[in-house]
Symmetry: C2
Subunit: 108 residues, 2 copies
Amino acid sequence: MAALYHHPAPEDITLLPLLRAIADPVRLGIICHLHSLKEANCTTLLRGRPKSSMSHHFQVLREAGILQTRVEGVQHRNTLRLDVLENRFPGLMVSILRECPTNLPEDS
Amino acid sequence: MAALYHHPAPEDITLLPLLRAIADPVRLGIICHLHSLKEANCTTLLRGRPKSSMSHHFQVLREAGILQTRVEGVQHRNTLRLDVLENRFPGLMVSILRECPTNLPEDS
DNA sequence: CTTTTTGTTCTATCAATATGGAACAATAAA
DNA sequence: TTTATTGTTCCATATTGATAGAACAAAAAG
């Protein structure tokens, strides 16, 4: 699990891939959870889904510039890149995060 | 072409379908063009694409609540529902429209 | 060293969606 | 009435992307 992740630089984050990444129910759920948890690893957000699926979604979010992955031992901790996104596309994430359910249900 | 279009009420516009509709290169192009033209019919925005494809994209945008279609004779005039979207998801469309190219190229 | 935990990568399959041709419908114009 | 314009609907095809099992890799613990 060497996994030297590549996080795109702020100027390389583009709107279309960003929107495509967000416009998925599972990934929007991940985003909302990360927003409330501040930081979480992959396993924490599995909701009965296979790891390979989740790993895929995290990769999409990472490559779109939405989240950052920090390796700590065997765990990979993910956080939203809200500051970067706010600078790059002001108001976008705010308007989306406002729609996150306040109490995240168990099965989302 | 009876086409009694159904435009969703503001409260029936939901985030995920909205994002899915926007997160497509052709439709994002349509949105940007409509933003600069204020109003346009389907044929005006064909860029060598078949009508059936464009009609499909307009339908997706319409059902997502992004645009409104007004029938005038043989033409169907489309406009963005910016006021509704701003009320429903404040700041969202603004942040997206800001990314539209100022001079829309011929082939977009 | 062996086992456990975590997450990736590979691969195949399946579902959703975009594309585009053809026929059709409606209005307007000749 | 005939023709042209506009856009929809139907249909088949192609493409994209999600799902999920299996094997693998790395780190930590026993």
